[in-house]
């Protein structure tokens, strides 16, 4: 059924950028990051089950600067995706769909994410030895 000659619907670059559009793009981007994070969680659990030597490798990686930055990024993505997901569930139930309400909830979404991400980063870094 599909071949290259069929017309395509207008793609991203056709539309004027809007504030609420960013929430949707970020939801997707953070979702992809979290899918990678899920693999990281599984890899960490496998290393843990394998024993102290294998886990030491994962632990050193997570404790380093790169690991900490990745964890802070993942935590930020997690809070964003969770809050945005709840907003989408409200949309699914028919709430908050008009333009003003969607913009207001987008503002709350960014604010809540910033707060939760800062608190998480603080907990992560204040732990000292914790990765």
């Amino acid at each position: 059924m599909s071949d290259a000659s069929r017309p395509l619907s207008p793609h991203l670059q056709v539309y004027r950028f809007t504030y609420t559009m960013a929430t949707s793009i970020f939801h997707r981007a953070t979702g992809l990051a979290l899918a990678a994070g899920f693999l990281g969680l599984v890899a960490t659990l496998i290393a843990l089950a394998d024993g102290p030597q294998a886990y030491a490798v994962a632990y050193e990686l997570l404790k380093g600067v790169v690991g900490k930055l990745a964890l802070i990024g993942l935590l930020t993505a997690f809070w964003y995706h969770t809050f945005a997901g709840l907003r989408h569930l409200a949309f699914d139930a028919g709430y908050g769909l008009d333009k003003r309400a969607a913009r207001r909830s987008a503002t709350w979404l960014f604010a809540a994410t910033a707060l939760a991400a800062l608190l998480s980063a603080y907990c992560l870094l204040a732990g000292g030895a914790r990765p």
Binding site: G31, L32, A35, F38, L48
Partner: protein, 128 residues
């Protein structure tokens, strides 16, 4: 009375009456993940130590193991739905698309089962 055309019915086009169930299960997985992941993230952030002994003790605790066993398959399912949607949106070449989707299916089932097996090994494997 069916609104499907005879041709559509023969070709298997249109709703097979599973659309609503699929929509609902995607939402249920998303809703289930909220408490499960918020619990895991907060528990790990507040854990006294995440070195080998610390994380091992965390995963060994029965309630934590139960939470992880619940979380892993649901997270894999939700993740698979999400990345499948991205591939369906942006990969247009039919062969590549099917190949990538099948690889994603395998990877997610593999990751979920490997994660579950790891949790069970820690749970039943005795103290370090």
């Amino acid at each position: 009375m069916s609104l499907k055309s005879p041709l559509g019915r023969v070709l298997g086009l249109g709703s097979a009456k599973e659309g609503a169930a699929h929509w609902w299960s995607t939402r249920l997985a998303a809703v289930a993940l909220v408490p499960l992941l918020v619990w895991l993230v907060l528990a790990l952030l507040m854990a006294p130590s995440l070195d080998y002994a610390g994380l091992h003790a965390f995963v060994r605790a029965p309630l934590n193991a139960l939470g992880l066993v619940l979380l892993l398959p649901v997270a894999a399912y939700h993740s698979l739905l999400g990345v499948r949607e991205v591939v369906e949106d942006y990969v247009h070449a039919k062969g590549t698309k099917v190949l990538v989707l099948v690889l994603l299916d395998f990877a997610h089932v593999g990751a979920a089962v490997a994660g579950l097996y790891a949790v069970l090994r820690v749970s039943f494997g005795g103290s370090p």
